[in-house]
Symmetry: D2
């Protein structure tokens, strides 16, 4: 059965850091996009998620892969404001663009985090060259698998505005234990 792909929803960002011009997913069409959703005081993000995103940023060609951070603060808001984030990015040598997810009108969870139904931080999102949401994962993913998932999307042929998924070589067992099923209703773990 062929799954129906969902267009990745546009990011709702208040402020961008590490970039001169603001970034939209629309601007990234034609490239694969990796989004690392994180909080600066989240140990799993600092230890695993962000270093991994930084490695991807250094390894792949910017013509093929855009790496973005998304600061999705859903707790300790006072401790993780823009000033704090700026110092954090400086100290941890994070060099890829980072956007601050727009706070909700009501409640602690910011807008993009809600629209993507992210389960927490770190979460990793992959979007294909045509702008379709292809992968979304809460928690740690191995470097080996991430390298493969990114390259699978980089190599995809784009025909008539739709990516042709040729299967990506990840074993079915791994797939079942880790993947996210995306359909018209969104992405669920």
């Amino acid at each position: 059965m062929r799954q129906t792909l969902q267009k990745a929803l546009e990011l709702q960002v208040d402020q961008w850091m590490n970039t001169k011009a603001d970034i939209t997913l629309d601007n990234c069409l034609g490239k694969v996009v990796l989004i690392e959703a994180f909080q600066m005081l989240c140990p799993g993000c600092v230890e695993h998620g962000l270093p991994q995103a930084q490695k991807a940023y250094q390894l792949f060609s910017p013509d093929d892969l855009v790496v973005l951070g998304l600061h999705t603060v859903f707790e300790h808001h006072a401790a993780m404001g823009p000033e704090s984030l700026k110092a954090f990015l400086h100290e941890y040598r994070i060099s890829f663009p980072v956007g601050i997810d727009t706070p909700a009108d009501k409640g602690p969870v910011p807008k993009t985090m809600t629209s993507y139904q992210l389960q927490g931080t770190p979460s990793l999102i992959l979007i294909d060259r045509r702008g379709y949401l292809r992968w979304q994962k809460f928690g740690a993913i191995s470097d080996l698998q991430l390298g493969a998932e990114i390259m699978a999307l980089i190599k995809e042929e784009v025909v008539d505005g739709i990516s042709l998924d040729q299967g990506d070589g990840i074993s079915e067992e791994t797939r079942k234990s880790q993947s996210v099923l995306c359909d018209d209703h969104g992405c669920r773990v």
Copy 2:
């Protein structure tokens, strides 16, 4: 300038472990092949190379990737005979097939190691679905890059008996510092 690809030379193996039937590269045509050349008493192999190959073996579908170990003993031969290797594979839970590189008629370096001009252990070799040698590296490679390199070959379209290299998205800078140039004369670092 398009580089000329070289057919991967057949492995010269005395004995296979972890497999019922002997393995030849010819049998693997249609799949990508990863060869981890190692010595059981080589610290870099034990710490990095073999665990990485084992992870690749578990992550990718066997329909897409064949993972092989090649025991290329070029020193301490008496300490790394078949009996020792068997115990080693058992203790370290190496579950993919491992072949013992055939000792040379003369000199310490075994035959496949010589024919591939390997510089030492661990060395990692990638062969594409058509049997062409695509990548050869002495020393450590990051999991992120290996995942990407493998997937680049898995995704390659095969047309008229030759892989169509579409470029693999690794940045030029990384490429220059790490890659192996393969031409009609072989692969050189």
Copy 3:
């Protein structure tokens, strides 16, 4: 030549966290004291210094060793205020008492950091049962050595109000490369 020991200067702390009552070195007399000077946005502190201090806190008996954190903020002050520190300690599960080093009347370096002439963060300070400064180090120290240094002080006999240093078994070579010479003028690397 016997080195002259220096009494550890009292900490100048604005606010304590993770403790009901404020702490002074004077209160700790009779126990060995480990002080981990850190900044919450210092990668080396987060990765190495604080986890190490937490391990020491869990391993040794509170009757023998007091473990204290000292938040010595000398940069990015706005990003590392009390509110941020509180969230940080919560998220990183730091359970030992942490004091906020009192800001200087003038300049970015806080008062205790200045009085101890700390060179940066993380810095580790060891004080003996009699209140003498025995060890001060900027940067990483191995767990093996720290365990030994702490125990050397725990085991010290106290006679007539002065610790009898019996030598601590660390090899002279290690000592030269790592130690801090304390004299009447203070401690220098």
Copy 4:
């Protein structure tokens, strides 16, 4: 209740490596002795136990601590003979003396391993300056604790031929979960 200490039984060693003269515990009287019992094809020994022993060998003064390896082969005997061990020690840069535990007259477990009732590899043994067995542990121990345990014995005063154990500052909880009870019948986990 004061536990009765047991004199450490003499090692039964067939052959020593990394030393000009054979070693006996009797020769080591006056120094603390750390014995790392290992097998060269035991992953936990290679990854944790041996690097830890090597670090202890480098950190402490040889006037205070003697570090010995004991090759206690109880499986895969053919794969771990003296020739193999020699190559292993060379490749892994193990520089402290290593003795080969004497094979049993009957059964796979060698003689010293049996006399010490070791439960497997790696096992770590600590003997005090007077030759009493003070600590014996199967499996991993943290660097922080090992540094402390060694120093506790280095610092012990020796009076009338018996070490005076002043307690070693390790918290009671840690002690209960990790320690070995030594009595006249030996050491049990």
